[in-house]
Point group: C3
Chain length 165, copies 3
């Protein structure tokens, strides 16, 4: 397949820096304010275009940990939104920030792109960053770790920064 | 007019790669699930701030073809959303991904920006890419080809990648 | 704290170009179409996840001036959206375009990121630009200047372009 010329010099398999985080999302169901990290803001059941929640939109402020346990200490937050956008399968579109405020990192990483949930892994774009991540660009690879109905999602986010050298 | 220094070296009129696609959007009207590619998720008639649907928000998974016929074979999908955002004319703001999964291209192109629909052409930003479009940046120029009421829109998207060489 | 290698060469404190603008937002309340520049499109009071309007979503087409007076001549528009996204404090996530059409500048600057409203200043990412701002990247620093209840907001946006030289 064809590719952009600069792909040769910037190799996604050899990023200059990499951060692996686990995103934990607990949907708000009305009675779980203490634990919930995300809430539906439009079309809870989709809007009738197919059976895969087309148009359902969620705002989240999710916990990020460095391993796949919800009980591990949070190291950052993922703040943003997504909506489902296919009528034939579950598929979503995300835009969000990873927000760090720890001794290790201070700053944000800004990400957007398509989440083709049927794929084992899918790549979104790191489109910018601030603070310790000033001018970051690269790829965030999603891998679903766990889904418990519509209540809990765990996704591995493998963030690879591809610096212009 | 003023401009950024690097404009001299990265010339939008001489991109290193260019892909021209036609975006076909068929709005969901309740009874056209088989053909519809987009649905309103908020404020179908706008929210009262002027007469140009201010706040109306649409999620889409539109077909992309290489010419201006809706019946041509799809080569990719455009997945994302837009909302109307002016009270004095039709104007929109878009964020979306072009999703390719063909023998020619695999990967996504991520785009965001203002769509000043009154202009003959308008430029949005290519802010990132994945797969064959890894680390893409550039401009996506919109040109409206056809509008049939609120039911069908066809827009030419001329995507110009401007590689840092 | 750790940082990306290229941070050393691209210094946010020494941008190659800088534009300081003041963003004026007048919320639509039903009876102020003539003056309003923004309207709620979802969850006017939040959706029950905490007391800080989690999920409230606003579309805006706000005036930008070069000083902190609402009555100064507008030099550009800010068009986009934000939503509140924390249950424990006011915090928002923005994606928008600065739209210029003057003798000084023609083009757009595309911005996204987290607005941690409790901080004195907070940085969002400039992820792209068009026209005179072709291929722009950098940081937009927000500083709240004035808040009048839920009706009027004034924010200083200090946009710093960090060119790859």
């Amino acid at each position: 397949s064809s590719s952009l010329a600069h792909k040769k010099t910037l190799n996604p398999r050899k990023p200059c820096k990499r951060i692996v985080l686990y995103y934990h999302e607990i949907m708000f169901k009305g009675d779980n304010v203490a634990n919930a990290t995300a809430a539906t803001i439009a079309n809870p059941d989709g809007n009738g275009l197919g059976n895969f929640k087309f148009g359902k939109t969620v705002v989240f402020d999710d916990t990020l940990t460095t391993d796949n346990s919800l009980l591990s200490p949070p190291v950052a937050r993922a703040q943003g939104f997504y909506f489902y956008d296919m009528k034939t399968t579950y598929n979503a579109w995300f835009a969000f920030s990873l927000v760090f405020n720890s001794t290790q990192y201070k700053g944000t990483i800004n990400i957007m792109g398509a989440d083709m949930m049927d794929e084992d892994t899918r790549d979104l774009s790191v489109v910018g960053g601030t603070g310790d991540f000033f001018m970051a660009r690269g790829i965030a690879t999603f891998r679903t770790e766990e889904v418990e109905g519509a209540d809990y999602f765990q996704v591995q986010m493998d963030v690879k920064f591809c610096c212009p050298t």
